[in-house]
Point group: C2
Chain length 136, copies 2
Amino acid sequence: MGPQRERGFKLTPQRAAIMAYLEGNHSHPSAEDIYAAVLEKYPMVSLATVYNTLEVLKQMGKVTELNIDGERKHFDPETEPHHHMICTRCKKIVNVRKDFDLEVPRDMAEGFTIEGRHADFYGVCADCADEAKAAA
Amino acid sequence: MGPQRERGFKLTPQRAAIMAYLEGNHSHPSAEDIYAAVLEKYPMVSLATVYNTLEVLKQMGKVTELNIDGERKHFDPETEPHHHMICTRCKKIVNVRKDFDLEVPRDMAEGFTIEGRHADFYGVCADCADEAKAAA
DNA sequence: TTCTCTGCAAATGCTTTGCAGAGGC
DNA sequence: GCCTCTGCAAAGCATTTGCAGAGAA
């Protein structure tokens, strides 16, 4: 199956570089973004290793996969529950740290046991609004 | 660019079949699902036409693209705002028609002009919970 | 040795695109 | 004729997988 099967996690230089890049990163990078960033300081990394590492980190609960963007997956090292605003123009993803009251009433739940909740907000960010204004 | 550029929309038999399948459909099908369903009654449809039609319907605002599932896109003919529960085992998507209070406080909005909002709930559906119980 | 991890390259799977032909007005 | 739409096949991308070799214990 996956990389290591139920044994230890080996902290290789590649993995360390990826984790260092993700640490405290709020840019919600894609695998390709991470690959590009890590490559700069660490030329011996392959994209496959980035994907592999992300999978491991995901299973360790150190990273969350975001399926907000239909084009590619994004990764978020922030593990506390939070929400996102997405700019529909530049695709920027910004955190929203607010505790919304998201409970599905029992009569709508259809027997679901809900374990996670997440809100997306779609709109236009300040930068893109400025650009649009400048172009007009 | 797209199919028809700013001219009329031609309601071909293929498109009618796709729209008929989507009408009142709450199963949140993928393009492949739609293709399979339409093929049964209408053998002369190609997957490319399904994608093409979905793109047109999306631009007409008659269908929403859901990026909930990282594996493939799903399509939803329900245009009124609503939310979704997703079973993490069988990937089933179920509507949640409740008007949650989803407003981003101005001091968190970072200049975003928010135009849409959507909540996802992740969990295990009743069927999958039963299966798990039976297997135990 | 044993086991995981890595890079490369090939493969996969969803989605898009190019294009010639069909059909409507 | 003019234009859009269609099916097919090829192309495009993001992501995954197979595998031989490297490296740590």
